[in-house]
Amino acid sequence: MFDFLKKSRHQVMMAAAGLAVAGSLIATPSAAQDKIKAAVIFGVNNPGSVNGWDRGHFHGAQKLIKEYGWDVDIAEGVPFPQMERTAERYGEAGYQVVIFTSSGQIRAWNAVAPKYPKTVFAMLSTTDSLPKSDNVVAYAPDFFSYGVLNGLVAGQATDSKKIGFVAGLAVKAVEDMWSGIVEGAKAVAPDVEPSYAFSGNWTDVPRAREVTDLQIRRGADVIIGNAGDGTLGILDAAKTSKAKFVGYATDWSADEPGTVLSSVLLGMDGWYDALAKEVASGKVEPKINIFGVDSFTVVPLNEKLLSADRIAKIDDSIRRYRSGELKIPVVRHEVKK
């Protein structure tokens, strides 16, 4: 019986292999082009769907296609166990640039970059070390100063003197952002009480909504949301309870114009620009490039939600922080684990 099994399975494999061989013969060889062949790897499905980090990356990828004329393939929904293999496939296939979009891909980055020296492996997320090879580069935001901007806005926009920060998981970027929020709020409004809560993961919308609702019921009237796809729930809770919302990474104004006070843009397009220029120059420097407060933009505050003089005060504090006039020390605020 088992012999028969082996045989028929063998036949299936032969047939399939034959198909694959035939296919590779029929496939047209890629014409020599000036277009740079690149790949962007996402762990999430449908990265452009919700505002935030992944849409920022998605937008950056589109920029590479439209402005720089790159030929970009987007891998999405790549499960964690398959990150390395996915990156390897691109290296094997001779892609010139492979872009990682999350710190969860650092391991794959470290493992694959040394194997394909001809491909540039770029990590566009927070990291503190480089893989052991020269064909790498990283671009990352300084989440502390990013958080400070959030704190400056939220701390002065609140009437109840309570602001809420809802995030997905307690990873380092989130902790740094929280520290920044606390320090930023403290610097301009020492009597403001910031609080944080976690939704538990980066996708659950109902849970994020209820966690935010909880914060609002405890008094927070400005909410900063950073929970991946779950942020939809955070925004909804803010809308329902008429709290103000500060958007993460990309511009959230179009989503709920009556609720979104502002968004603090991470300026992710800038990372893609920097990468494109480095690649075009032919020399990519193996370095971690940190983008600081100059690369972040605070979207003009919603005048329907805040009076003009308060907006002016907030704008002024942001200006003073950027210029260095307002000094905010980097203080770590631990998130309880």
């Binding site: 769907s49 209820e210 939809l232 989503d255 709920e256």
Partner: protein
């Protein structure tokens, strides 16, 4: 804290989709069908409910869309495991994956075509009631929670005190007895699946249109299975199933509230599940309809 009206409203928000879906599962189970594809049907209802609400600008139309899509999905499931018939468990699991793929796909296509946002269904508190806390509370209860309660009362009556209900339950208890009584088992089960699917779809719409006002891929995240568990928890009685759903809602909100106590938030997120197990342990189990999951073929 448990008596805090905000807490209760929050728990109702969580429980409502669960309860509605659980009713659908109950109907299917009583007819002898293991409704494992409930997760997929709920997800379909969630998506199309949202699309309908956003497209027509009216959440109630959205809910109706969710109901309609749920009925269609229920009929499809009926075709698969009543008429073919194929194994209910495997079809159920495969259907869920297919539904996940399909809804994510459709959602992606519709991005930009329809806005991913629906209007709240909440009734504004009228002026004459604004001073009475009890009335304010009643007006804050999500409308679909009232719908759910109504559905349960109707279902309990129909299932246990009417002829059609008896027909449905007999098909679930013993196909031999039912056939010898002249019932067309396949037809009864198809109707049961249409109802069950409709309710599951309605529950899905209650999640998106009634609760979070937006859709996201895999937004149900296992809540369909929780509804299934709730039915088993409730030992196939409508009343206990209703309470089981409420219990889960309470548990989840409790877990979310408890984050403030400090410590890792995930430990508190375990609360609803552990609570359900404990209560289940205290109340013991029961015997379900005997025909559940048995394939039936008309000879």
């Amino acid at each position: 804290m448990m008596l805090d009206p905000e807490f209760i409203i929050s728990a109702l928000r969580v429980a409502t989709p669960l309860i509605i879906v659980a009713l659908g599962v109950l109907v299917a189970e009583l007819a002898g069908i293991l409704f494992l594809c409930v997760e997929g049907v709920m997800l379909c209802g969630a998506l199309f409910g949202m699309l309908g609400a956003a497209y027509f600008g009216d959440p109630w139309i959205g809910v109706a869309c969710g109901l309609a899509v749920g009925i269609s999905a229920g009929l499809l499931c009926a075709a698969l495991f009543v008429w073919v018939p194929a194994d209910q468990v495997v079809i159920g699991l495969a259907f869920n994956i297919a539904a996940l793929g399909l809804t994510s796909f459709v959602f992606r296509i519709m991005t930009g075509v329809v806005k991913n946002s629906s209007i709240s269904m909440a009734w504004p508190v009228p002026e004459w009631a604004a001073d009475h806390p009890v009335l304010v509370f009643l007006f804050q209860v999500p409308p679909l929670a009232w719908v759910a309660a109504g559905l349960f009362i109707i279902a309990a009556y129909l299932l246990f005190r009417s002829a059609p209900g008896l027909m449905l339950r007999s098909v679930g208890q013993s196909v031999e007895a039912a056939t010898s009584a002249g019932l067309d088992v396949l037809r009864v089960r198809t109707v049961a699946m249409a109802i069950a699917g409709g309710l599951a779809g309605l529950g899905g719409a209650a999640l998106t249109v009634g609760w979070v006002h937006s859709f996201s891929a895999n937004i149900t995240a296992g809540r369909g299975f929780i509804a299934l568990a709730v039915v088993y928890f409730g030992r196939w009685y409508p009343g206990w199933t209703f309470l089981g759903g409420l219990l889960f809602g309470v548990g989840e909100v409790l877990g979310l509230n408890a984050q403030v106590l400090g410590g890792n938030s995930h430990l508190y997120l375990m609360v609803p599940y552990i609570l359900t197990i404990i209560v289940l342990g205290m109340t013991g189990g029961g015997r379900g309809p005997r025909e559940v999951a048995r394939p039936y073929e008309r000879d």
